[in-house]
């Protein structure tokens, strides 16, 4: 029997009677990670991995009914053995392992296979059926090791600092920002962050992740060093009046979408650093192979391409329609509109715009309606 099926509310486990990352309000929701399109408000009971608890409470409310499971710890729900395993995507991200009557299914949520140092690295989990994302499911997506990218970023920052120009690095506030912070070289200059980023840094630090010292731009007293500094801000800050304080700055965007010249140029930034929290093409293949699954369901991203490819590799692959990302969701859908969400760029952490690469803007809108 199928342990996970697609329902209008979200991915559903019939024998266990619970949902995984549902997009409509349900009774029981297992949350793979805290990005806006996976963790939504309003469910009665939440279950998530312990390292992600801080994020979820920050985002969904401190008083949500949340059961936190350590990675590898098993609970039994209506006869379904459920455990969570690291997905390596962001802090607290998990793959959901379900076992029922000898059948094992794993729903991977979003994942990446490279160890980034800011969250527990991805672990391969053996199963019969694997549910995989496909955000970067084309062979054109191949990531460089992150230390090479950090070297590029630090070099760019250093060159700007030498020219007395502020470096503004756009990145998603949750996950990507902290990963970037962990690779910055604080000896180059001060590290400043947007109001949407700082609260999440705090959560990471509380979870024991070592991040360099950061200063919240809104509380900056001494502005003399601003031209030597690097600023981490969400993409929605681009082109808004918030940027004016940095004068003649150089800007960059860190995302897997920067792999393509067209997307990079449309972004209109000086530099594009190719860094993603999702698996690249080889990463997806590695994870699927590592699971040993013979049956694969493909969700959000390049569903059609991946299904066809996997079938040609002799696997039984099918697509799952989810609201995590439109089928074949592509670069542009993930770029926040230039002006429409300027309102989301406030100094107040309450209006933070926590968006992951894999989550198109429209889903944020849906979630808030």
């Amino acid at each position: 029997m199928d342990l996970v099926i697609a329902r209008p509310e979200g991915l559903y486990c019939p024998p266990g009677d619970f949902y995984i990352d549902p997009w409509r309000q349900v009774e029981r929701a297992v949350i793979t990670h805290g990005h806006g399109d996976h963790a939504r408000t309003g469910h009665a009971h939440y279950l998530a991995a312990t390292p992600g608890e801080g994020i979820l409470r920050k985002r969904l409310g401190a008083d949500i009914d949340l059961l936190a499971l350590d990675y590898g710890q098993t609970i039994n729900h209506h006869g379904v053995k459920l455990s969570l395993h690291p997905a390596g995507h962001v802090l607290g991200s998990a793959q959901v392992r379900l076992e029922y009557k000898g059948e094992v299914w794993v729903a991977s949520g979003d994942y990446k296979v490279e160890d980034d140092g800011t969250c527990t690295p991805f672990e391969s989990v053996r199963c019969h059926t694997y549910i995989t994302e496909s955000t970067f499911g084309l062979p054109i997506y191949k990531w460089q090791p992150q230390n090479e990218i950090f070297a590029d970023i630090n070099q760019w920052w250093q060159a700007n600092a030498d020219n007395n120009r502020t470096s503004v690095l756009f990145c998603y506030a949750f996950g990507k920002a902290q990963r970037l912070l962990s690779g910055l070289n604080p000896s180059i200059g001060p590290i400043l962050v947007h109001g949407a980023v700082e609260p999440l840094n705090r959560v990471y630090r509380e979870a024991g992740v070592a991040l360099p010292h950061t200063q919240y731009v809104g509380e900056l007293q001494d502005t003399s060093q601003i031209r030597k500094s690097i600023v981490l801000a969400p993409p929605s800050a681009q082109g808004t009046s918030w940027m004016k304080r940095f004068g003649d700055y150089s800007d960059a965007f860190a995302s897997g979408w920067m792999q393509l010249r067209g997307t990079r140029r449309r972004r209109g930034v000086d530099r594009g650093f190719i860094m993603s929290d999702h698996a690249d093409w080889p990463g997806l293949q590695k994870a699927i192979q590592g699971s040993g699954a013979e049956r694969v369901f493909v969700t959000h991203g390049q569903v059609h391409t991946m299904v066809r490819w996997l079938c040609e590799q002799g696997l039984d692959a099918q697509g799952f329609t989810t609201e995590y990302g439109e089928e074949e969701a592509e670069a542009e859908a993930h770029l926040p509109h230039d002006t429409s969400d300027a309102a989301g760029v406030s100094e107040s952490p309450l209006t933070e715009n926590v968006v992951s690469e894999g989550s198109p803007q429209q889903h944020i809108d849906k979630a808030t309606v």
Binding site: L138, P139, K142, L260, G262, D270, Q302, E332, A333
Partner: protein, 609 residues
């Protein structure tokens, strides 16, 4: 190669002219003269003919990457650029060649031309393996002839001027003809570009033309003209001809014809050579090459031609001269031909309509005022007395409003509107206004409200977004029950980035079917399309081809049912061709078929730079 690839990356990464200028200067300061010579060539638009067919590059990528063909196609559709797709799919190399651009072009790439496919692949694969990814991209773009990097010739000129510490106008002068196909740039050429000013330099050599002076669009209401630009008597007014902007250079008993792209096109227009003995040495004329004919048999049946009596008009009344200028589409056919057969020369004869004189009696006269050059030019044309050299007539009007009324005849005359040249203007370099100004006062394009029915992903900047659309009109009025949408034009330009994203999202949501890269959508979006010309066509289902179609605006206010009909579109056809519609068997219009395909993809001649 790496230094040039890095320059490409720097230029590609920014939209700021200053940043580009800085990147160019850094490169020219550091590069060897050999390398810089080729860099100038490529950056200012020089393009050797394709060295390697793209088909072979695809095959090579498939083999080297081990991917199935469909996955390669999916990838290509997402990337929207063949060279980039290749570099992303080819196995990573750890090498990075230290050899410069000149060595690469001259010793490694140019020798690939004309090799048999197997030999070509055998040589190309190890070559690509010597390059890092960035250099690979540039290298592939060079061998496919698709190298473009958003740098204008003017910007290259400015960078060279700064490096050489020579006036930019002088560098522009030296750069003329540099990218001509017959030339192969060398260190010597480059050193001449950046050499200190030499007194003898003003003695012009051989067939070199002058940098073209370009016009600015005039986009203000006619009623504001007087206040903004003064009265008409301060201006020389002419028709804006729809042909090929050219310079005719006569020196040392020889004649050269140069196009606006500074390409030597003498051989393309052998009839102009008849002017050789009738224009004195040391003369340079600026004008427009147009097809010049008494009538247009391809548009008209024999009867209509006879009835209209145009042939007579043409000979008897000088004021009807413009009737003899034929559509650009006709000229386009001739340009496209490899061999100019006597039949083509007979059917598509050209003349040059002269409108400026840049050199007279061996003297550069660009510093003399417009009216003075014009007076001299009229004498030159009169003395010449050959039909291949005509003067571009001056138009007069009491007021701008009066001229505006005359301008309404533009379409029927086959011109694009009017040109306004200030009487005291000097002849500038490129699109400048510092020594005087030329305005192009174009007529509004034709426009029609059409429905978007198919979409395809774009290239380059629009890569991976659905931005290339096919538009249709209704084949019947709104009260007809089973009327259908008939496609008639493709367009991709005219939307803002934000609109592009919005349309892209709607296309994804309303997709009905996919045929390879093309999606059909539920008709829901109406756009006002603009185009410059319209003609009958047997190639298109609609029976109509339009020239240079683009989106003028998105009619979000308009329901699909209210889009225009084929009938409305047909009413825009020139009178004569509409009559011949029922007579199509007699007048096959295969000649204009190509219009939509060739012209819509490239801008009209005057928009190239």
């Amino acid at each position: 190669m790496r230094a040039f690839a890095n320059l490409y990356a720097r230029l590609d990464a920014t939209t700021s002219s200053n940043a580009k200028l800085a990147a160019l200067q850094d490169y020219f300061r550091a590069a060897s003269a050999d390398d810089a010579a080729w860099a100038v060539y490529f950056l200012s638009g020089g393009r050797p003919r394709q060295l390697v067919p793209t088909k072979l590059l695809r095959e090579l990528t498939l083999r080297e990457s081990g991917l199935p063909e469909w996955l390669f196609e999916e990838s290509y559709q997402a990337v929207g650029d063949l060279a980039e797709t290749m570099t992303l799919l080819l196995p990573e190399t750890l090498h990075s060649s230290e050899e410069g651009l000149a060595v690469w072009v001259e010793q490694k790439l140019l020798p690939l031309r004309g090799l048999a496919p197997e030999l070509l692949t055998m040589q190309l694969v190890p070559l690509l393996q010597q390059l890092d990814r960035r250099s690979q991209l540039v290298c592939i773009k060079l061998i496919t002839g698709s190298f473009r990097v958003g740098v204008s010739r003017l910007l290259v000129t400015r960078a060279l001027a700064a490096v050489a510490e020579v006036d930019a106008k002088r560098v522009a002068q030296r750069l003329v003809g540099y990218t001509d196909l017959s030339a192969r740039p060398t260190a010597t050429h480059y050193l001449k570009l950046v050499a200190p000013v030499n007194e003898d330099e003003d003695e012009r050599l051989e067939g070199q033309p002058y940098p073209f002076f370009l016009a600015h669009p005039l986009q203000i209401p006619t009623d504001d003209f007087a206040a903004q630009i003064g009265s008409p008597d301060q201006w020389l007014v002419e028709w804006k001809w729809d042909g090929i902007r050219s310079q005719l250079v006569k020196r040392d008993g020889q004649l050269w014809v140069w196009s606006r792209g500074e390409e030597l096109v003498t051989d393309r227009f052998p009839e102009l050579n008849r002017l050789l003995d009738h224009i004195p040495d040391g003369t340079v004329i600026d004008g427009e090459i147009v097809v010049w004919k008494a009538n247009a048999p391809y548009l008209e049946t024999e009867e209509t031609t006879r009835d209209s009596g145009w042939t007579d008009n043409c000979q008897l009344q000088p004021s009807a001269l413009q009737n003899c200028v034929q559509p650009f589409a006709l000229l386009q056919q001739r340009i496209g031909r490899k061999a100019l057969t006597p039949k083509i020369l007979e059917n598509i004869p050209v003349v040059i309509l002269a409108y400026d004189l840049l050199e007279w009696q061996g003297q550069d006269c660009r510093e003399r005022p417009q009216w003075e050059r014009r007076a001299q030019l009229e004498q030159v044309v009169a003395t010449c007395g050959q039909p291949q050299l005509q003067i571009s007539q001056l138009l007069t009007g009491e007021s701008w409003q009066d001229l505006d009324r005359q301008r309404e005849a533009s379409r029927s005359l086959g011109v694009e509107g009017m040109m306004l040249k200030r009487k005291d203007a000097r002849y500038g370099v490129g699109r400048t206004k510092d020594v005087g100004v030329w305005w192009k006062w174009k007529i509004d394009p034709y426009s029609i409200d059409a429905v978007l029915i198919y979409a395809q992903r774009g290239h380059g900047r629009r890569a991976s977004l659905y931005t290339d659309y096919t538009f249709a009109v209704w084949d019947g009025a709104e009260n007809i029950l089973d009327r259908k949408l008939v496609p008639f034009a493709k367009a991709y330009s005219g939307l803002t980035d934000a609109e592009m994203r919005e349309v892209d999202a709607i296309i994804r949501k309303t997709t009905v079917e996919k045929f390879g890269p093309v999606r059909s959508v539920t008709p829901s979006m109406v756009f006002e399309l603009g185009f410059e010309g319209i003609a009958l066509s047997t190639r298109h289902k609609s029976g109509i081809a339009v020239r240079f179609p683009r989106m003028l605006r998105w009619r979000q206010d308009k329901p699909v049912a209210e889009a225009d009909t084929l009938e409305t579109l047909r009413e825009l056809l020139p009178q004569t061709s509409r009559q011949s519609k029922d007579d199509r068997t007699k007048t096959p219009d295969s000649k204009i078929e190509s219009v939509n395909d060739t012209v819509s993809q490239t801008s009209p001649q005057d928009e190239v730079l």
